[in-house]
Symmetry: D2
Subunit: 345 residues, 4 copies
């Protein structure tokens, strides 16, 4: 196989991280997130968020971040609402339910949740006979590659506050969202217009790690208890702290995300030029071209990607994901192969 576009976690990490790990390797540090690197990285996040008052906690992965945050926020009878495409609804083997909470799901056209999607879950007619919706889960970029505009996020946040809802953003691909051409949000906006969110490292140049950022003061207290109880508190927290320290320095994480987005954009152009429609318009690093089954079979000989959905008898949508590490020359070669395949399909 020439290259896998199956996901954005097929490679290791940005080399600067390995250098930093080596430089700091034998210096003793406190455990469980109290090391100077985690401190440093957290300070940088506070600065980028324009808010010295936020709490930052680092965990090893996204499902872990999702389940700890939601389990810490919800009382036993409370639920979280997500898009039907939301990662917590479709991809986490019941991780949220395993903490005791229902995930309510709303269908959307583009993976983005809007106030009108949430309204039906509020003011349930029979009160305590149903769960009470208390949290809103969104991903940015979404599982379909789309991004929230500033106005959309403000609308959602204001709706959430008016309805006593906690707004939680899964930011596994937040750097890609913030560097998308259509994006008009800043990290400070995200911190301002959510209660809690996280910045994904695993998919944006780190070996592993997500940085959970809590703005809402009510959610800060006792968060480390929740981390510990769910097995999410790393003894060597330095391992994640050092990575974010590097990624956040000189905007490295955003440069890497921008690269991923650009590689996807070039692929998207090539598909469009050949007349292959995209299932959904995305300007981040996931794209969903609709291809003939013949083309898919030919491309699969050399490239890895996911069959996303069946469109009709002859065609399916596939999912291609680029990453911070996807080489330009691989993209060029794929496009060349694509054109060849297209001509013989």
């Amino acid at each position: 196989m020439k290259y896998s576009f199956a996901n954005d976690y097929s490679e290791g990490c940005h080399p600067r991280i390995l250098e930093a790990l080596a430089h700091t390797n034998l210096i003793q540090q406190a455990g469980y997130g109290d090391d100077s690197h985690t401190c440093n990285a957290s300070d940088t996040i506070r600065r980028l968020a324009g808010n010295t008052d936020i709490d930052v906690h680092m965990v090893a992965g996204g499902t872990m971040a999702n389940l700890v945050v939601l389990a810490s926020v919800l009382r036993p009878f409370e639920s979280v609402v997500a898009a039907t495409t939301g990662h917590i609804y479709t991809n986490e083997a019941g991780a949220i339910e395993a903490t005791g909470h229902k995930v309510e799901a709303a269908p959307t056209v583009d993976g983005k949740l809007r106030p009108a999607d949430i309204v039906p879950f509020l003011n349930k007619a029979r009160g305590h006979h149903l769960v009470r919706t208390r949290a809103v889960y969104i991903s940015n970029s979404t599982e379909l590659g789309t991004v929230y505009t500033k106005q959309e996020l403000i609308d959602l946040y204001e709706f959430s506050k008016a309805n006593n809802l906690i707004l939680f953003m899964d930011g596994a691909r937040l750097p890609m969202a913030l560097t998308a051409p259509s994006n008009d949000l800043t990290l400070a906006d995200i911190a301002r217009y959510t209660d809690v969110f996280y910045i994904g490292g695993t998919k944006c140049g780190a070996m592993l790690g997500e940085a959970i950022v809590i703005s809402n003061p009510d959610l800060k207290q006792d968060f480390k208890y929740h981390l510990k109880q769910r097995g999410a508190l790393s003894a060597k927290g330095r391992t994640i702290g050092i990575q974010f320290e590097q990624l956040l320095q000189d905007n490295l994480i955003f440069e890497l995300a921008d690269h991923a987005n650009k590689m996807a954009s070039r692929l998207a152009c090539a598909f469009k030029q050949l007349g292959c429609p995209l299932l959904i318009d995305s300007d981040t690093n996931q794209l969903f071209p609709v291809l003939s089954n013949a083309m898919i079979t030919l491309l699969q000989k050399d490239y890895g990607f996911l069959i996303w959905s069946v469109v009709d008898e002859d065609r399916s949508a596939v999912r291609l994901i680029t990453s911070w590490a996807t080489p330009e020359r691989v993209v060029d070669e794929f496009i060349k192969d694509l054109r060849r395949v297209y001509s013989v399909k």
Copy 2:
């Protein structure tokens, strides 16, 4: 501060790991533990265990390993029995209870559980009015630094099998146990005389990672579902796989553990020479000397360690832990300082 003996996770990882991470960094690998490094390391574990039939899964930390294993093994009304000093009973913020299970605790003299300690939990008089004990949790080395002999483990395993109990060994410090002077167990013995155990990486030279080893065929099926549901399945499983690949090559992990044990042994000698009793005899990397409070105060100026328990008005037991990275010269210096402090105490 000159040096911290507070724990064995204050430093990073063995340099060979960083080299391997760098060498393999941009090679694409499958996610979620299906990468070639995890495969390789798992094969090595199978070879060392003398059993090609065992399953291996790698997770980021010890609490995570404990809670996933126990949640996968127990039915809702079943409990696990541990020593009162057991990590799951005292140090995990209710992680096991959060999965719905009671931890029953037996007092022991040395942190080691024996069949006689478990008997009172079996055949409860009132049947379904009480939890049913179904798993036995032991640590090797224990939280007090002691190790199980081969006969002790066989006794426990045979007792477990005779009573329909699952025997689970927390091996966060298993390499230290297996290299302790008094040890007569091999990794193959451990695999043979437990149902499931893990080999700790975090405390033995890795940045993070524990390798869960399942011998009992009944426990293998569906284990990845449990991992995923608890947020324990790493997208970049390679990060842990590469580390174990290195640690298991040429017995590196055992050499590192042996070093930690030896450093502790030299400290123990020094304490004994000065007439400071040890709370418990240990030949691994944790030691619990009883010191006068005056000595403790003086030593704390330069060294980090935990006050373990109050012995009498004038004396307390402290806990010192050495690691794979503790330099010999630091141990020498500590001993010198200790003697000085002792003479002026």
Copy 3:
């Protein structure tokens, strides 16, 4: 208010139950379901089910029955599939999720689940990244008043067995289903073509109580542990046992259910005669006529019932429920009032 058709649990219990409670009141009985009345009633159920090998357990209510059965059947990562109208999905405040399990929901036209509705939840593409569907929850009669035919149940059961699924029937209104004009099932069929089900007492003449019937041998063992753990094991189990003893004698429970159905049928006729459509065809004790809002307002002065759904600007569907205790003269009077209201609407 003249009468409430809001539900079928507004009255107490059949007088024969009160007499039996009085007769047996001071005779000592064993606790926790080991009394002679529970034994007796269980034997009767075995006889009616034509299976001496089934286990019977009595609990106080339907949500309790649902959560204990499902928590006992599912492993942590497994889910149950239900119709979107299913009681466990819409009416139990997250009771199933609180035991750690996802409820997956399929839309249906009539509240009845068919194999084709379940297929999409099986063979999920990404294996352990999603929950595994392991149980099927159906209600008979359904929340829309419809009933399963024998062929439908056989199809569902055979599909379940072919796909390693547990088939569980919520029988809160099973007596109404079994006495519906369109019914062709017997209690023996239910026991034969489900793994576990329950016979509702609360809505069919008892003060409280549901009898859980387990046919599948794999589900029998340890069930009392599950009951105890969820607070479902009644100290005075006799209280429920005596009620089922009476209800099952001389077919009393089925006579009571038949009465409820007949009262609903007379109401249905009256609505149809006036040209008021029914939202769904039901021949049990729940009916859903579509009325003008003006009629609804007038009827609500004297009668209790639920507004079910808005049909258009001028009309809504309402839900009327009759019970074993609904007097014929009340039904006659309602019909008279209905006609009057209709003429002036």
Copy 4:
């Protein structure tokens, strides 16, 4: 067998309850605890408690009451402390752990928890590495038959408030406690010096039912959600409401408890006269005489009771429980039989 002293739930209910059930049987009532009887009974409790501001909820049993209250009070990482003899620690098949919470247990001499017993669980040295103790569970009367004095309860309550702890009293046998000769507490005191408690009906003349009383305003909100979610909200709440209405009228429940206590007291006298020691001094309806094994065997021919603990090779302590329904003549006959057995033992 002549009579069973095995427990206080072997008989049905006070006849007045059956009469009231019959009188009110066909009057329609709102479901789920909103009926007039539950309202009435709740008002009476408010009056007896001298507090119009408390909330009252009725559930079917004690384990149910315990698990709903504690699950509603605790956040995921918080624990409850109980005596090692406490019902939630020893007798509920892990019901509290199944809601995700650790039960921490303190040994006591008499089943009563005092501030000094709780201190060791507070201010744990390692913060978020351990559960945080947040609730205190006591039973009155205790599982050993002892009762709290007013001063003991005030001390515990003040200690709880000073340490941010919720004080919860399991009152399965509260009526027996309040009518014990040594008691100096009133129901108003209980409401004043606990955050939440319940009045047991099941063991004090009802067929089933416990009335949960919440004084602490912070615990009131949303309690019905918790009830519904755990399957504890009875559709026919009237069934329990009517029982408490009767039991609370003219002090019936206290007269019944007083009878039970007096029957036990006569038994206790008889044992003492024969020189049989009591394991613990109790003036409620449980007693624990130490008997020779020969006597036990002879008595067991005619009477039911529990072997409680082995005292020495020749003697064991047994548990005898009297109830509201234990006839005086049975007590007389037992005493006669006891004397006969003693003389031939």
